[in-house]
């Protein structure tokens, strides 16, 4: 006799949220560092912040928020038993993730070619606050980019699972938890965008 499968969606979701809380505290720590150094080196942070590409940040904000909408809609679709739409919406989400990372690549290439990277000769001569700003920027945005990569990969697997009937209207906690992770990625960018691109 096959062992009865135990299924507890509420606990699965609780577990996912506990993980998301640790993520919030992780990025919260990085934002705290940013705040403290901004208070200590306001002048240097302003100089360094003016090197940022405001419009790259704005376009990526629009892309991420839209991808979050598509991910949330895919949950609605699967609950309404519409697997086909759910897969399409997830493909759209993953496409947004790819465009986001592409923009990141172009943006970082432009900055690195201008000598703005941790340990560069240009920043070595700048006052202490400027290399600090760029180190924090590359660390925070890089860690966020890694989350985009992971989230996009997880959502691709979810699309595959829906297509093969593993995730269905009555069994969609995997999809729900994966989209929760994606929304968190969006949530963190909502703070990165004004802090690094706008306020300085």
């Amino acid at each position: 006799m096959r062992k009865a499968q135990h299924k507890d969606d509420a606990a699965a979701k609780l577990g996912m949220w506990l993980f998301l809380f640790t993520e919030m505290l992780l990025f919260g720590g990085l934002f705290l560092l940013y705040g403290v150094y901004l208070a200590r080196y306001p002048q240097e942070f302003a100089t360094a912040g003016h090197e940022m590409h405001r419009w790259f940040g704005a376009i990526n904000t629009i892309i991420l928020i839209s991808s979050s909408l598509l991910a949330a809609m895919s949950v609605t679709a699967i609950r309404r038993n519409d697997s086909k739409t759910a897969v399409l919406l997830l493909v759209g989400t993953v496409a947004c993730a790819a465009v986001f990372l592409m923009n990141k690549y172009l943006e970082w290439s432009a900055e690195i070619s201008r000598g703005l990277y941790p340990g560069s000769p240009l920043l070595a001569q700048a006052p202490h606050g400027e290399p600090l700003f760029f180190s924090l920027y590359y660390l925070t945005v890089g860690l966020h980019g890694l989350h985009v990569l992971i989230g996009g990969s997880v959502l691709s697997v979810m699309a595959w699972r829906i297509r093969h009937g593993v995730i269905t209207a009555g069994n969609c906690i995997w999809l729900e938890n994966s989209t929760l992770f994606w929304h968190l990625v969006d949530l963190i960018w909502i703070f990165i965008f004004p802090l690094y691109y706008l306020v300085l």
Binding site: D8, D9, L25, G35, V36, A58, A72, T76, D186, L198
Partner: protein
Amino acid sequence: MSSITPEQHVVSYGKLAATWLALMALTVLTIWVSFQDLGIFRVWAALSIASLKSGLVIAIFMQMKYENRLLKWLLFLALATLAIFIGLTFVDVLYR
């Protein structure tokens, strides 16, 4: 098969789209504010708008609005912990 399925709430496409529109409007607002000459209040304005946006994402996209009380309190606890960390650090940094 033992199964514990919480009451499911399906958020309509219309509601999700309305949330997206609000998030877009707030994004435009935060960019507009960043061009204004507000001095130090620029940081506070940007953070207020970002908090509003994250509230929308958490409540509607992440469906926290429809979750049980336990999850809501845990979220509050996590955010309160973060606020205490940040608050106490700044008390130390600014008034050392």
